[in-house]
Amino acid sequence: MMPEGLRKELEARIKEADHARECVVDVMYALQKHYGYLSDEAVLEVASLLGMTALEVDELATFYDFIYREPVGKYVIHACDGVVCWMFGEESLLDYLCNKLNVTVGETTPDGLFTVLPTVCIGYCDHAPAVLVNGRFYGSLTPEKIDAMIEELKRVPSPLVADR
């Protein structure tokens, strides 16, 4: 169950909006941040906060790329597979990343740290190949830079600035 403080905060935010429903993505993000992903329980809570049916919420939750309906790691590595990153060897880098973490696409490492998800063009084509990790770009990647990125993320104790 979501904490009372969070509920109050979200209720206030919804009340402030011109139309409650325009907050639905923000509310999904907030509960996703709380639970680590948008759990079934969270879907019901979003629905009740906004006066929507659970089906209406799930219809949105399953449509959007950055709403996770299954548990994900602390860091979600969105690996760009757009055409420019493809040109610069995104496929073999994705293989390298998955092998390194010993996961397949969509899986989470057993320590709960990393999930790898291929993602449409992230708008970093001038630094291809690139990935987005919790809102932060890593560009011009090579296997060595991927090693360094993973080491860095393992060391960071708290989530990144743009973390959801």
Partner: protein
């Protein structure tokens, strides 16, 4: 003759950080808004934008002034201006660069649009990959508000207008205006067939203007220096203003470059982007993102503006140039592009939902040595069906396929006759990188 290095949208650019409010104001920022509010009626603002020849920078190239004038004076209230910051066209990153270069320029442009159509509320609709930009905009909106450029009775006038940042959950289709409106209303964001008349029945069934942020950023300059000046910035008769050309792919210096509208493709690649990468030779370019057709070498000198490309059977799209070299397999590239469209299709209408996977399957088989001669006419037929879709998504998806068929049919045939990709396993040579 305007010098080539004229900077309008990037005139306040600071290395490695966004221009501040003070820097923007020192460069003449917010003067256009102050003048407009004091001296111009909303319809005069619209007329100036119309006279400037400014065309939409988000891909479709619709004349901006006409769109603004499309909201009838007697239409109801409240009215909305949506600054489309969703930028998800593969190969396109100009709006990210623009927002990060001068956030107040897009803010002032949005307020001016709001004034011109007598709107009360502006909305930056922004993709989750650009979360840091969303935070930047929220911070700078607060600065603009504190300075009296946003909120109730702006600069002591009757005009009240405020802007919020709306975060998307992230899907390409949300860039389409009617889908974007659905997304903001908390509906499943699919486009609305035929498009309701946004000017009267847009967001919450109210008059709504949707413009790309690069388009909006041009407005302050048009008002400050006049429509004729803006027109004269372009290299071509039919063009107007400068353009943020994104260049990526096999060039020496990928990036986003502000150049006069109508600058030749070859000039953009050689002078702005430093030429091809060492050891690479130009083969083709997508002129404006994933939903435009490949342009082969014969178009190397084409003037990159809406009309010149249209005349040649191409589209400027977002003006984001993706450059392929001779080591790149264009069948594999088209397969990658089609995979993108298959994944991002909203699934609402049949041609798009069913047709695109069919095209993907044909391309996959050709790329993997299982192609047959008969696949070529099938690709042609299926691409033509994309025209029957509800929105511009599927016709856009068909464009690279049609370009491949038109200019590189021989390359498709080589795949079929050799029963493999002539370029090797991944269809592109990875030896060259920018590192």
């Amino acid at each position: 003759m305007i010098p080539v290095d004229v900077k309008v949208l990037f005139k306040n650019a600071q290395p490695g950080r966004p221009a501040t409010f003070d820097e923007y104001c020192r460069g003449g920022g917010y003067q256009a808004l102050s003048e407009a509010i004091r001296k111009l009626a909303p319809k005069d603002v619209t007329r100036k934008v119309k006279d400037s020849g400014l065309r939409g920078r988000g891909g479709a190239g619709f004349p901006a002034g006409l769109k603004w004038a499309g909201i009838p004076e007697k239409a109801g209230f409240p009215r909305y201006v949506i600054a489309n910051t969703d930028e998800m066209e593969p190969g396109t990153f100009k709006d990210r660069v623009l927002v990060n270069t001068d956030p107040h320029m897009v803010i002032e442009g949005t307020i001016l649009a709001g004034y011109a159509v007598s709107a009360q509320r502006g909305i930056f609709f922004i993709r989750p990959s650009y979360e840091t930009d969303a935070e930047l905009l929220e911070r700078e909106l607060q600065v603009a508000r504190a300075a009296g450029y946003l909120g109730k009775n702006i600069l002591g006038s009757d005009f009240s207008f405020d802007i919020v940042v709306h975060r998307s959950g992230g899907r390409y289709i949300c860039g389409e205006a009617t889908a974007q409106v659905n997304a903001i209303m908390g509906n499943r964001p699919h486009p609305i067939k035929g498009g309701p008349h946004m000017a009267e029945q847009g967001l919450w069934k109210r008059p709504t203007l949707v413009n790309n942020v690069e388009t909006l950023a041009c407005a302050p300059h048009i008002l400050q220096h006049g429509p004729e000046w803006f027109k004269s910035l372009a290299k071509t008769e039919t063009g107007a203003g400068t353009k943020l050309y994104g260049v990526s792919g096999k060039v020496h210096q990928p990036g986003c470059y502000e150049l006069p509208m109508g600058t030749r493709l070859g000039e953009i690649i050689e002078e702005a982007a430093g030429g091809m990468m060492r050891g690479s030779e130009f083969k083709a370019a997508l002129p404006g993102g994933a939903s435009t057709a490949f342009m082969p070498k014969q178009y190397y000198d084409i003037e990159m503006d809406f009309e010149a490309l249209k005349k040649a059977g191409h589209r400027l799209g977002t003006g984001s140039i993706v450059v392929f070299d001779r080591q790149s397999c264009l069948v594999a590239a088209t397969l990658n592009l089609t995979e993108f469209f298959v994944r991002e299709s909203c699934g609402l209408c049949t041609p798009c939902r069913e047709g695109l996977p069919f095209i993907r399957d044909l391309l996959w088989r050709i790329e993997n040595g299982e192609g047959k001669e008969g696949f070529i006419p099938m690709l042609r037929e299926m691409s033509a069906h994309m025209r029957h879709a509800y929105c511009a998504f599927a016709p856009g998806a068909a464009e690279p396929v049609e370009g491949l068929l038109l200019y590189f049919e021989e390359e498709i045939r080589e795949h079929i006759s050799q029963r493999k990709c002539p370029f090797g396993e991944h269809g592109t040579d990875h030896a060259e990188t920018h590192h």
